[in-house]
Amino acid sequence: MTPPSSPSPPVLVTRGDLPALFNALRAKGYQVLGPTVRDGAIAYETLASPDDLPVGWGDAQDAGTYRLVRRKDASLFGYAVGPQSWKQVVFPPRCRLWQATRKPSGTSFQIEPSDDAPPRYAVIGMRSCELHALAIQGRVFLEGPFRDPVYEARRRDLFIVSVQCGQAGGTCFCVSMKTGPSASSGFDLALTELCEPDRHVFLVEVGTARGGEILQAVPHRPATEQEREGARKLLERTARSMGRVMDTDGLKEALEGAADDPHWEAVAQRCLSCANCTMVCPTCFCSAMEDVTDLAGRQAQRMRAWDSCFTLSFSYLHGGSVRSSVTSRYRQWLTHKLAGWIEQFGTSGCVGCGRCITWCPAAIDLTAEVRALRAGASRQVASSNGGEEAAA
């Protein structure tokens, strides 16, 4: 899978030589982040070496279900995605925007920006869906009339070693959303793990010049055509084994027309409005501003924290919330993610990573809800055309 604009053809790196990649990144001043096993799940942490990766671990995911499972091999990337997404690196769950101090005279105040220079991160193991999510969320923060300086500073120097997926997760549907399972751009380096009985190697694609530079410090040789074919076949197999499917044809119009569908009420009966889905979603970008002050009232700070449209106070206005029912809040989230987003930012907001399905305590599956809403919509069209009611 040679990217069209690749500076060089793919190479092969052995498992044994992989630590050199980590060392090269650290030598360049990057803090290396990647997946590791923690608290019964695969979470993103600082990694010292490839041994910190979830070696030999896989996962079993379904609606409202997540389990780590032991693999028969020693794969480093033999799982899908965990509860965390990479948005926490560029869009921190909580950060300080600025602080203000009252002037000694007491009347005016002075505002100082938060000068904490963000660390330079290199992330290992970003999958294709996550690369797309990064690009999608990046549009929100960087391509509007106002740019977010926090996001900009953290995204600018982000070094990405992505991973082409060797297996599909139980709730994955990147193929439906055209965001995977393999990526052709957006990364500095992309790894495809080939974990075979007689050897454990990585096909490495170079995506950028600085990716190529880092690669110089890692022992490698050109990949053979057979090895490239092996990687291609692996990705094709992944694409065929997606856990979920979502029909996106005309989905925007279908959802826009489904505002009064009674099905929203049915979902709301199950939805706890716990906001898990928005926390784990890699593209959700809503945030709350919090103003805090010290007891003397002399120093004030503005904090920014993740927020969710599922909370009652999200749409608070004049003594009440505009969206006070769970029905309206679920409708808002799904319609925004799959329809409104397109009008706002030009693409769907969903990358098919399946996290919202896996981590919903009520096991709500948005692919199933979309199917139900589309069925409802076509039933309405059929009856308004005077035709027979379509079979459910």
């Binding site: 009339p145 106002f146 309206s328």
Partner: protein
């Protein structure tokens, strides 16, 4: 984006729970020019920030005027500031009322309710500054009681002009009130305007705007020439925090002023 400290150079308590303040920058630089209908995020030190429409004269850009109604913690703090004290300002943000050239040679009908007169006052200043450019100009204003009438002296002054129609009504009169009593929608058929070409601008409580727009449509005014000012919870004011979304629009950058034909269907829907 960080708030800029502005000094309160004048503050008047208008109606019951309403204050109007005039601000100028502490640092001596000019305030940013604004378009009628835009808003600033006003910051009360340590308490928080709220979006408040700018209600001053757009041609007097060295100072900012804001009319604030006390409805919560932040607005309470803002209504309590004294002369000489500081208020943080970020802005101006948002899409405002139609530009002067869009209103040229047309009749203009301004329909306001309660505090909704504040974001519309800059339009009146604009229209009166170049009065000859426009057709008939009407200002309709409805509020709760005579005590709640905003900018009373100014309204009386405008009412005295021969080239502006000012009609004021209250929901409930008092012993001394000799003016209209009734909802502001009843004033719409009282003022002369050509529905085939006029432009209408409406601002006030959501219910009032909905009914006023319906009444305007009934006069023959097309939905494409009716503008209303929407309101939603705002945190950042610059399209990044997601709170102010209304359908696919961010009220802070695609609004607050929106054209009625674009939102007509959604307005009737609940909890959007």
């Amino acid at each position: 984006m960080r708030p800029r400290p502005f000094r309160v150079i004048r503050v008047s308590r208008d109606a019951r729970d309403v204050a109007t303040m005039t601000l100028e920058p502490f640092d001596g630089h000019a305030a940013d020019a604004f378009a009628p209908g835009q808003f600033n995020m006003l910051y009360a030190f340590g308490v928080g920030e709220v979006p408040i429409s700018i209600s001053g004269n757009p041609h007097e850009s060295d100072r900012l005027v804001h009319t604030i109604r006390r409805v919560g913690l932040v607005t309470k703090a803002l209504c309590g500031v004294q002369r000489g004290e500081a208020v943080g300002v970020r802005g101006p943000f948002g899409r405002g009322w139609p530009a002067p050239r869009e209103m040229e040679h047309r009749d203009v009908v301004v329909v306001s309710g309660g505090i909704g007169l504040a974001p519309l006052r800059p339009v009146l200043y604009e229209l009166l500054a170049n009065r000859r450019q426009y057709g008939r100009v009407s200002l309709l204003y409805g509020t709760r009681t005579p005590e709640d009438i905003l900018y009373r002296k100014e309204l009386e002054r405008w009412r005295g002009r021969f080239d502006v129609d000012v009609e004021v009504t209250v929901d409930r009169g008092d012993a001394g009130w000799r003016g209209h009593v009734g909802v502001v929608t009843t004033l719409i058929h009282r003022v002369p305007f050509d529905p085939a070409t006029a432009i209408a601008m409406v601002c006030g409580p959501a219910v009032m705007m909905r009914f006023a727009a319906t009444e305007l449509i009934q006069t023959g005014l097309e939905a494409e020439r009716i503008y209303i000012s929407m309101e939603r919870n705002m945190h950042c004011g610059i399209g990044l925090c997601g709170h102010c979304q209304y359908g696919p629009w961010f009220i802070c950058k695609d609004g607050p002023v929106m054209r009625y034909d674009q939102i007509q269907a959604r307005l009737d829907r609940r909890e959007v």
